[in-house]
């Protein structure tokens, strides 16, 4: 049964890939404009900008107090719009990405190095240290590919306006 599912899965991937190639050829590019933007993480990482991870760019709702303006009479911004919800989610994901790339991966790589130093010639310990260092590098590659994968799918399908992905 699991063999069958694996087979199907592999076939499905092949089919989907073909579908995307065809789709990419057929769909004329449309202008995408998303209000949610992807934070820059290179070279210093995304540590949040004021007011940190929470996004407050919305306008007060029409029909209520301070309608249409970005802040109330006390200067408080509006953080409850649907755009802000998405932007906050994007910010959090980028923050996790920053932690993985700039904190976790270097530490794991250093731990691998130390393990190798302390192995004292034991082949078993050296191979364990090797695995740790390789996993750290592969992990970094996966994390860096995450944006690429989602962005490629969204742009190839030409779904316009998906927040933070697909075009500018």
């Amino acid at each position: 049964m699991s063999h069958f599912i694996n087979n199907l899965r592999r076939n499905a991937i092949v089919r989907f890939s073909l579908l995307f190639v065809v789709a990419g050829i057929f769909f004329a590019p449309l202008a995408a404009s998303a209000a949610v933007t992807a934070p820059q993480i290179w070279p210093t990482g995304y540590w949040g900008t004021n007011p940190y991870l929470l996004s407050c760019s919305g306008n007060y709702p029409i029909g209520g107090a301070n309608q249409g303006s970005t802040q109330d009479s006390y200067g408080r911004p509006y953080c409850s719009s649907l755009t802000d919800l998405l932007q906050t989610a994007v910010n959090i994901v980028y923050f996790i990405m920053t932690i993985a790339l700039f904190v976790l991966a270097p530490i794991l790589f250093v731990i691998g190095g130390i393990m190798m130093m302390l192995a004292a010639g034991s082949p078993e310990k050296i191979s364990k240290a090797n695995k740790t260092m390789i996993a750290a590098v592969v992990g970094v590659v996966i994390v860096l590919c995450a944006y690429l994968i989602v962005n490629t799918i969204v742009t190839t399908l030409n779904i316009t306006g998906v927040a933070g992905f697909g075009g500018s």
Binding site: V36, G58, S69, T83, G139, V143, V150, A163, G164
Partner: protein, 342 residues
């Protein structure tokens, strides 16, 4: 544990989607017209009040896809981190790979739904209601009754039931009655202070819009309360005449009716294809207070980014996008917010 996490992810998504939908759709205000309280992030299909609900559902679909994209993005990152920290633990790394595969398959399936519909017929992803012709409100096209003479031998007498038109005394209102559309001066000092600020802000905005390769036209700025009251009186009389055309035959009404016809020729309200609809005068509206301006911008795509551009350039104007008045801009920090009485 993994299944539990997946279920909670799904539940979270449904809760967020559900709540946003309820807060959007259920937020009917006290106005007669249901107004959508917020716009959706993808500005290419942002929905403002008064639009067909199909466009809103369409925008919400893309919004939900955005959430899915961000979740998939986050899960691939989680997979990468899991792969890193489970070094030397093959089952842990296999688990991480499964997470990543699941995320990719998930986004492919969701995007595939859009693709399938798009391939079958692109109109399927552009939800829209069938277009019905609009029904004119108030007085039907063709305007006021033209004849003041009744049937032969039947000329009703008595007092005219129609309200007399107010006399204009405000200089701004008289200027507008004489054909001026953009008025920057008011006899009220508080309103004048607002108008001075407003004029400076509009000039700044003009420079900014030109810099963006756009063009803007100022339609209307200060509208004195008296002027609005005059329009409203014409509208009310016209509506009354439509409901009881016999009033036009009352002898006492003849001077009022010729006055109404003169006003109608001058302003073109209630004539031709224009619907006869005039808002009741309110001293607390933006225009009589000198803090509102109607500006139409070309290309209209500039509206979607106009508020962020305005705040970036420190111009104290906000595009309010009011229902039925999509060109309305409001002074953010007026000198006087008091309601006016004349």
């Amino acid at each position: 544990m993994k299944t539990l996490f997946k279920i909670s992810c799904l539940a979270l998504f449904l809760i967020i989607a559900g709540f946003s939908f309820i807060s959007l759709m259920g937020a009917a205000s006290a106005h007669a017209q249901v107004q959508i309280q917020t716009t959706l992030p993808n500005q290419s299909s942002s929905v403002t009040a008064g639009q067909a609900p199909g466009a809103f559902v369409n925008a919400f679909f893309v919004y939900a896809l955005s959430i899915a994209g961000i979740i998939a993005f986050g899960i691939i990152i989680y997979g990468g981190v899991k792969y890193m920290i489970s070094a030397g633990n093959p089952s842990g790394q296999g688990d991480a790979k499964e997470w990543i595969m699941a995320a990719i398959m998930g986004i492919l399936l969701l995007a595939g739904a859009y693709l399938l519909l798009y391939v079958i017929n692109p109109a399927l992803v552009n939800l829209a209601l069938p277009n019905l012709g609009s029904v004119g409100t108030g007085v039907a096209t063709g305007g006021l009754p033209t004849s003041t003479t009744g049937a032969p031998g039947v000329t009703p007498t008595g007092t005219c039931p129609l309200a007399a038109l107010p006399t204009l005394t405000d200089p701004g209102a008289i200027a507008m009655e004489n054909g001026q559309t953009v008025v920057w001066n008011s006899s009220n000092p508080g309103v004048q202070a607002n108008l001075t600020l407003l004029q400076a802000a509009v000039n700044q905005m003009q420079t900014m819009v030109s810099g963006q390769g756009g063009h803007m036209t100022i339609n209307s700025v200060y509208r004195p309360l008296q002027y609005q009251a005059l329009f409203y009186a014409i509208y009310q009389d016209a509506t009354a005449l439509k409901n009881t055309p016999a009033d036009a035959q009352i002898a006492a009404c003849s001077s009022l009716i010729s006055q109404l016809q003169a006003e109608e020729t001058k302003h073109g309200i209630c004539t031709g294809s224009k619907p006869c609809l005039v808002a009741a005068p309110s001293g607390c509206s933006d225009h009589p207070r000198g803090m509102g301006v109607d500006i139409s911008i070309t290309p209209s795509s500039l509206y979607s980014s106009i508020n962020s551009l305005l705040s970036k350039n420190n111009i104290p104007l906000t595009w309010a996008a009011l229902g039925g008045d999509p060109v309305h801009f409001r002074l953010t920090d007026p000198a006087s917010t008091a309601c006016v009485t004349s």
